[in-house]
């Protein structure tokens, strides 16, 4: 779409508009931007560098041929959407003039400004945008490592893991126990584990009504808690039980073979066990030298440039974007700010003032949606919601409201997917 309206327009009118623009800064034309990671942050950044300035040379490096999204992967687990619906190729980005390299980044040489890949390529950059996502802290739950995750899925990077969890739910007998173990903060998609409980319960209620979902939590409170609890009371009484950390919810060990979750005082034997471990920035970020002691990447909040390596910007879940959640939508709007910053700097201009948003829908049932939203401005030390704006779906909003939010959730998914990979 903008390919036609904007690119042709710019191609035709570019000379005129460039000349008529006030200021004497140069253009970013011919500059090389490399983006690592083709998820919500990276794919948006690649597309939007082109949107802001089609003359910049953009290369996206991503190992997978297609990307399966965590958003709506819970709806897939609940049998509400198909796997194909949540999986996107990179053909759309190529159409916008982005060079898509299917390859794995092995390291970055900041001195030479070069990205190295498993395929043996060295890709030079003027600006590098890293959106590598997360990795798991497999050392935090005894018995739960990468090998155990092949039996007991985390399904917190969508794809084969999500399909494995769905197959296990399908194979489970009626009357079975599903255990979900959400991680401690900070982690990707704060409301995600609780939406997952809803979507799994939705599937069980219709197909295996004697079953139960037990949430063994490493926390005492969680995102959208009041709205989730409202929904659990309405639809899933006796079907979903939540055990907070204070009541021995924290899973400290796992026996993958017997699908047992071990807390301080109890052993819970599950029929389907879903352990979502503590998280950190993807290991490539640490290898490159972008992470601090926390395991995440400190960035200058106005530009998303790494505080540790110049000319490398980090966005999305891997970044410490203080005040913003680790969500796909946050990554999408951070990517837009970052793309504009990069284009401005390459053209010799001062980067502007950032403004980002986050809109996050969760499905309680296919017809009951809830949301939280925020419009963020940069304060002295972190992003913060504009006073009086944003917030949650009101309590007791009513069926019509919930229905509309469930429709909007699907509309949001269709449009943000198109905004990123389309």
């Amino acid at each position: 779409m903008f390919e036609q309206s904007r690119r042709n327009f710019l191609a035709t009118a570019g000379a005129v508009s460039a000349l008529s623009l006030a200021g004497c800064a140069g253009t970013a034309g011919g500059s090389r931007v490399v983006v690592v990671g083709g998820g919500f942050g990276g794919a948006t950044a690649a597309k939007y560098v082109k949107w802001f300035d089609p003359s910049v040379d953009v290369t996206l490096i991503e190992p997978k041929a297609a990307y399966t999204t965590c958003p709506f992967s819970n709806a897939f687990l609940g049998g509400v959407v198909k796997f194909e619906t949540i999986t996107h190729t990179y053909a759309g980005l190529a159409k916008h003039g982005v060079t898509v390299m299917q390859d794995m980044v092995t390291n970055v040489d900041p001195a030479k400004k070069m990205v190295m890949t498993a395929g043996g390529k060295s890709v030079p950059y003027d600006k590098l945008i890293m959106s590598p996502g997360i990795d798991f802290r497999f050392d935090t739950i005894e018995g739960y490592d990468a090998a155990a995750a092949e039996i007991v899925p985390h399904a917190w990077k969508a794809g084969p893991q999500t399909q494995m969890l769905r197959k296990q739910l399908e194979a489970m007998d009626d009357g079975g126990l599903v255990i979900i173990a959400p991680p401690p903060n900070p982690f990707r998609c704060p409301p995600g584990p609780y939406e997952r409980a809803c979507m799994i319960a939705h599937y069980l209620k219709a197909n295996k009504p004697k079953s139960k979902v037990l949430i063994l939590d490493a926390k005492d409170k969680f995102s959208k808690q009041g709205l989730f609890e409202e929904g659990w009371n309405l639809y899933y009484k006796g079907l979903i039980e939540w055990v907070p950390a204070a009541k021995d919810g924290t899973v400290k060990g796992v026996n993958a073979q017997t699908r047992t979750a071990i807390t301080e005082f109890e052993e819970h034997k599950a029929d389907v066990l879903n352990v979502i471990p503590a998280q950190r920035a993807n290991l490539i970020a640490a290898k490159v030298g972008l992470t601090d002691k926390s395991g995440w990447c400190p960035v200058h909040l106005n530009t998303f440039e790494s505080k540790l390596i110049p000319d490398v910007h980090v966005i999305g879940d891997a970044a410490i974007a203080s005040g913003m959640p680790k969500s796909g939508n946050a990554a999408n709007t951070q990517a837009k700010v970052c793309a504009k910053v990069v284009v401005d700097i390459l053209a010799g201009k001062q980067p502007g003032i950032p403004k980002t948003t986050n809109t996050c829908y969760s499905l309680i049932t296919p017809d009951h949606g809830i949301s939280v939203t925020a419009v963020y401005e940069l304060g002295e030390k972190s992003y913060g919601g504009v006073k009086g704006s944003g917030g949650l779906t009101p309590k007791d909003a009513g069926r019509e409201f919930w229905k509309q939010e469930s429709r909007n959730a699907r509309g949001w998914y269709a449009n943000i997917s198109e905004d990123i990979w389309g």
Binding site: I353, G390, W412, N415
Partner: protein, 108 residues
């Protein structure tokens, strides 16, 4: 998808150039660049305001109508599930800039 913008490309060209020329410098009046502001709309309403799903498209609205609607969402005069919460995050000047930019790009 391309419908409106492509249709109006020829007509919109002149308006588009005007917008480019009038586009505020990055930090005018302490406001974010208008392109950053409009790009924030696209995660829900589709790139360039062209929606693929059930959410309203923004590419067929005049600047006046869009600004009026956003200000009514902001004040609560216009009922909504979520737009009220979002519109409250933007100043009237930002709303005018967003509406003006989107309408001009789409030739409305």
């Amino acid at each position: 998808m391309v419908r409106k913008s492509r249709l109006h490309l020829a007509l919109g060209l002149a308006a588009g150039i005007a917008v480019m020329a009038l586009a505020p410098p990055a930090q005018a009046d302490g406001m974010p660049d208008v392109k950053i502001l409009v790009s924030n709309c696209f995660n829900c309403h589709g790139t360039d305001g062209i929606s693929a799903g059930v959410i309203d498209s923004l590419d067929e609205l005049s600047a006046k109508r869009m600004a009026k609607a956003l200000k009514e969402f902001k004040s609560g005069d216009k009922a909504s599930t979520i737009m009220g919460r979002i519109a409250k995050g933007y100043s009237d000047a930002e709303i005018d800039a967003i509406a003006g930019y989107l309408a001009a790009v789409n030739g409305n």
